[in-house]
Symmetry: C2
Subunit: 423 residues, 2 copies
């Protein structure tokens, strides 16, 4: 039993489209694209008669919530045991920031160690449902790795269009799952090629190819709804604020939709306020000016390469405006990397730079009064620091090589010049 209506609805104009609308997956709403404002179409649900969060404990991973996912009843889930990630409290961060409580939703605890597994689980399951044989994705790493792993699990071919500039770890991870990985020079090159491939070959898009961007595979976006469901099941009471790192806002939109479901079901009184963390601030600018579109804003190379977008999307703007949300730009690489280490050293939680932008944004929003002293806060930790360990290493001393004596250890830890760096 699913509450899915079998129809997709544009987040901007409200236009409806039947499932699967394969040509719109990745391109978004044709009417809005014709307006020059690409916008994602997202699944619709009819919650009539439901008064609680429906859970099917016999289903694997996040498919325990499949009644609220956009799948046909008979479709076999493609699961690697994703979701069900823990919330870990960060008391020092709460105290330093000046809020009541903070937890990180540790999404590094997913099958490919990022929250993109939630998107990939649902999008690849949908690809199997509609009979696709090849999936294609443009990605700086986490998204591509997640889709590659789930495609491998499902026996589908996966083609990843990445950038030459992404860290070697990300490239190897995507290749390890057997995906065909190629690099392009500029982000928009990937989208034009993907558009051509979808049209010419009938491949199913796992990410968007509209320009300006509209967001990712609509079915996959609803995989993120499960973060909201889990938070409400895990925490003593729903959080006041949820902070999400954002590029095109698939996670933000999905989480907002999950909380909206919970409010409609009567499980929570009202949805938490959402705070978007973005390296260069297109959404923050649009919210400040009331603009109908977000960006482009100037960008430069960033340690938060997973989220360093000049554009915000219509789905992000809609989610933030509906939930009384806010957005904060986090352009300072040194602040991000210092916060990454601070968090690891005080709490034992080592997140990738793009995830750490959420912690930086929280502090800024508290200072600005957008977040209040009595607020409880969840920060979505989207991926592990292991995905770009080189960025951390560049800010740490070399490990010294010592002889096995206490004196040598003391000298080395005091920074004595006699200690040689160890390989």
């Amino acid at each position: 039993m699913s509450a899915y209506t079998g129809r997709l609805r544009c987040v901007r104009c409200g236009g409806e489209h039947p499932d699967p609308s394969l040509e719109l997956v990745g391109a978004g709403c044709p009417a809005c694209a014709a307006d020059g404002v690409p916008a994602n179409i997202l699944p619709g649900y009819d919650l009539t008669g439901l008064t609680a969060l429906p859970v099917d404990a016999a289903q694997p991973g996040l498919f325990r919530y499949r009644a609220l996912l956009p799948l046909a009843a008979g479709t076999a889930p493609v699961s690697l045991g994703e979701g069900g990630t823990p919330v870990v409290e960060l008391p020092q961060l709460a105290e330093r920031t000046g809020v009541a409580r903070v937890w990180v939703k540790d999404e590094s605890r997913n099958p490919t160690w990022s929250y993109k597994d939630r998107l990939a689980a649902v999008a690849v399951t949908k690809a199997v449902e509609v009979g696709a044989e090849t999936v294609v994705v443009a990605s700086t790493g986490n998204h591509g790795a997640a889709v590659a792993a789930y495609a491998a699990r499902a026996g589908l071919r996966c083609v990843v269009l990445t950038l030459a500039s992404v860290p070697a770890t990300m490239k190897t991870l995507m290749q390890s799952y057997g995906a065909d990985v190629v690099a392009l020079e500029r982000p928009p090159d990937r989208w034009s090629l993907m558009r051509d491939l979808v049209a010419a070959r009938g491949w199913m898009a796992m990410s968007g190819f509209a320009y300006p961007p509209a967001g990712s595979n609509p079915y996959g976006v609803d995989g993120y709804k499960t973060i909201a469901y889990e938070l409400v099941e895990q925490l003593p009471r729903p959080p006041d604020v949820v902070v999400v790192p954002v590029a095109y806002g698939d996670g933000l939109a999905g989480i907002a939709r999950g909380f909206a479901d919970l409010a409609a079901l009567g499980v929570i009184e009202r949805a938490p306020r959402l705070l978007a963390a973005e390296p260069f601030g297109p959404l923050a600018e649009a919210l400040a000016t009331g603009a109908a579109t977000a960006g482009p804003v100037p960008v430069r190379p960033s340690v938060s390469f997973s989220t360093a977008s000049p554009f915000g999307t219509q789905q992000s703007l809609a989610a933030l405006r509906a939930a009384g949300g806010a957005a904060v730009a986090t352009p300072d690489d040194e602040e991000i990397m210092a916060t990454q280490l601070q968090l690891a050293r005080e709490s034992g939680v080592y997140l990738e730079a793009s995830s750490v932008t959420a912690v930086v944004a929280l502090a800024a929003a508290r200072a600005a009064g957008t977040v209040r002293p009595d607020d409880t806060v969840v920060v979505v930790g989207t991926s592990t620091g292991l995905k770009d360990v080189g960025a951390t290493a560049a800010r740490l001393p070399e490990v010294p090589l010592i002889v096995p004596t206490i004196g040598a250890l003391d000298d080395a830890l005091a920074g004595a010049p006699a200690a040689r760096p160890a390989g």
Copy 2:
């Protein structure tokens, strides 16, 4: 309420010692050490009156099983939400190997992405219980990272003695949590220095420093019992065989002790057979010859650097002999790395080389008849491939840089020489 007796018992001679016996944590049984055969001392329990697995759902992470952990009643758990890792079925591996069913227990889904978090959670909690201010660990990476993270969480100082040869990713990960990390040339150098530090400074050992090795912190070893408890809660029925990558056998011993608890409680009829996977085979040799000690055997550099030991321990021999276990040497680096990619490409599960030895050992044991066609098998996937991504990258083609046309993509994927490698 805990079933812990407050006494530790030698795995070789049966001698008993009171908790905390701090001087024996890391050194092992003094009587056996005087015999020249160092052996770990492990916690004792009194299960009288218990007839089911006691679970306290209000406790975080693996502390839900704290009634069967060696902790005082009032001790606050140091938890990062460890444990509760999923089992993921591997149908292609089962078919290829010729066994009934295979699952991987995906321990990469822990807080520092390896099963060492189970050891660290309990050992660091014990360090807090006994009032230690500094913990010290000798590690090639996973163990050190786990202890560093939990020490950070608990506000303790952590000193890691590693090897110059470990991958840069491992060094950075350990440092990221604020540990003081130094490298030594040879493994035994670390142990002699740790012995000196424990004696001179009163630091608490999180790994062993006996030579030949005896195993790690006894309290931490019992953290691994929770893998057995979870497997019995997760699977439709208990597995026939559990395959564990082994160096000094902390995980093997802990898992064996967990299953022994479950058998004593009447939760299972009998413990599964255990299969140890070890790069160079000291346990396999000792089991074949009936020797009282395991190793040293010749070693060389190995992709399975986390487990590449010349010695087996007394705790491993005891666990394997008690449970009708077996051990398999997995010396072939190329076979391990090919199996790593095969597993990722067919199942979406990317494990570190040391974990993959368990898959290699399973195939060998099936071929030898030690594992039978009707057996159900769990492979313990101890850590993620991300911990040494360079070893994988060395066996993959470079990612080609292309122009955004379908023709260029087709050429690149066909291996056309026009495609340039991408950075």
